[in-house]
């Protein structure tokens, strides 16, 4: 029984650290509040949808920035989508980078966009790793 209590404590600590490090924000708490006995897998379900969405969008962004002539409008539209969905699940750091990314798009700054894309990919892999760990423990 002690083992379980210890694990629960570690889970709480781990979750708390994700908030402290800015990976997650208040919106993630909202999602957790929406989970109950009738909908036990809700958070995992939504976050999984987010991962799929993000994978798709990051692909699109990479392709778009690889074009000889960059379509900034299309680029911005994709970043806007990523910004929105990351905000909806509380993926705070990704959301923040997307804001910078949109500015780069507006300025039609290719270098800036490339840098932002790298940042987004980096933040995405970090938070994905953290959340997958979280889900492994909490279910």
């Amino acid at each position: 029984m002690d083992g379980i209590v210890e694990l629960q404590r570690q889970l709480i600590d781990y979750t708390a650290s994700l908030f402290h490090e800015g990976f997650l924000d208040e919106q993630f708490n909202q999602l957790q509040q929406l989970e109950d006995e009738n909908n036990p897998g809700f958070v995992v379900e939504v976050v999984t949808l987010f991962f799929e969405d993000a994978d798709r969008l990051l692909n699109e962004l990479t392709k778009a920035l690889g074009q000889p002539s960059v379509d900034f409008k299309s680029l911005d539209a994709h970043v806007h989508q990523l910004k929105g969905s990351s905000s909806s699940i509380g993926a705070h750091r990704i959301h923040r980078v997307c804001i910078s990314f949109r500015n780069s798009c507006e300025e039609q700054n290719v270098e800036g966009c490339l840098k932002n894309l790298q940042q987004v990919k980096h933040e995405y892999s970090l938070v994905k790793d953290r959340l997958e760990t979280l889900f492994r423990v909490r279910g």
Partner: protein, 237 residues
């Protein structure tokens, strides 16, 4: 008509006390979240991915109802429409306009959601008749506020319907009127702008059921959401 864009559709028999919300958002993640927020707030939800789908749903529903052989069929009434602002093809604002220009559907309160807290945008939507404007990400407290708009009108309508529609006569009249409206709506979804308000059917003050046509959003109701939004624009609950 295909229903690819319809994510979830409540087919349970109409519960007279449950609010039915039509949610419109092109983002799958956001649809899942808003759906859950609404369901946990005891609402029935139909979630679609575009304004076109939303109009189809409203029109589709009427088409189905009108073709049923039963004399009185309770319609799967939509009590509230909540829509994202930024969507490809048809924005939430355009959807709002189409709904408010329709004699059948303009009574349905429409709430706009947007990730961007742009005051002129908010004003424009409210001026066009939106009940409220929610800045994303949508939270439980936002949905709770929406329920506040719904209950009184819905309860009022229900009690009026119960007293005035005992037989089949009133039901048939609604269906005929809505059938005519439905033709207009389907035209609208296939070809862009310029809707003329249908005027062939008796006006809003039709005798039979739910004289619910008079909009209840008074200026004072509109004013408070604006103030609340402006004040709380940067806070997170």
């Amino acid at each position: 008509m295909d229903t690819n864009g319809v994510v979830s559709f409540d087919v349970s028999p109409e519960d007279s006390h449950e609010v039915h919300v039509l949610a419109v958002d092109d983002s799958l993640v956001d649809r899942k979240v808003i759906e859950r927020l609404l369901k946990i707030s005891a609402c029935k939800v139909t979630a679609v991915d575009s304004g076109i789908r939303a109009l189809q749903f409203l029109g589709l529903d009427e088409q189905r109802r009108a073709s049923e052989s039963d004399s009185f069929v309770p319609s799967l009434k939509v009590d509230l429409i909540i829509t994202d602002y930024c969507m490809p093809e048809m924005t939430g604002y355009e959807l709002l306009k189409k709904i408010k220009e329709s004699t059948t559907f303009r009574e349905i309160p429409v709430v706009i959601m947007s990730s961007e807290n742009i005051l002129p945008r908010i004003d424009r939507c409210l001026e066009e008749g939106a009940e409220d404007f929610i800045v994303k990400p949508v939270k439980l407290s936002d949905v709770k506020r929406l329920k506040g708009y719904m209950t009184p009108r819905e309860v009022r309508e229900r009690s009026q319907e119960r007293t005035s529609v005992e037989g089949s006569g009133g039901g048939v009249e609604i269906n005929n009127k809505r059938k005519l409206e439905e033709q207009e709506i389907s035209d609208v979804s296939s070809s862009p702008p310029s809707i003329s308000t249908l005027s062939s059917s008796p006006s809003d003050s039709s005798p039979s059921p739910s004289p619910s046509s008079s909009p209840t959003s008074s200026p004072s109701v509109l004013a408070s959401p604006i103030r609340r939004l402006k004040m709380s624009s940067s806070t997170t609950d």
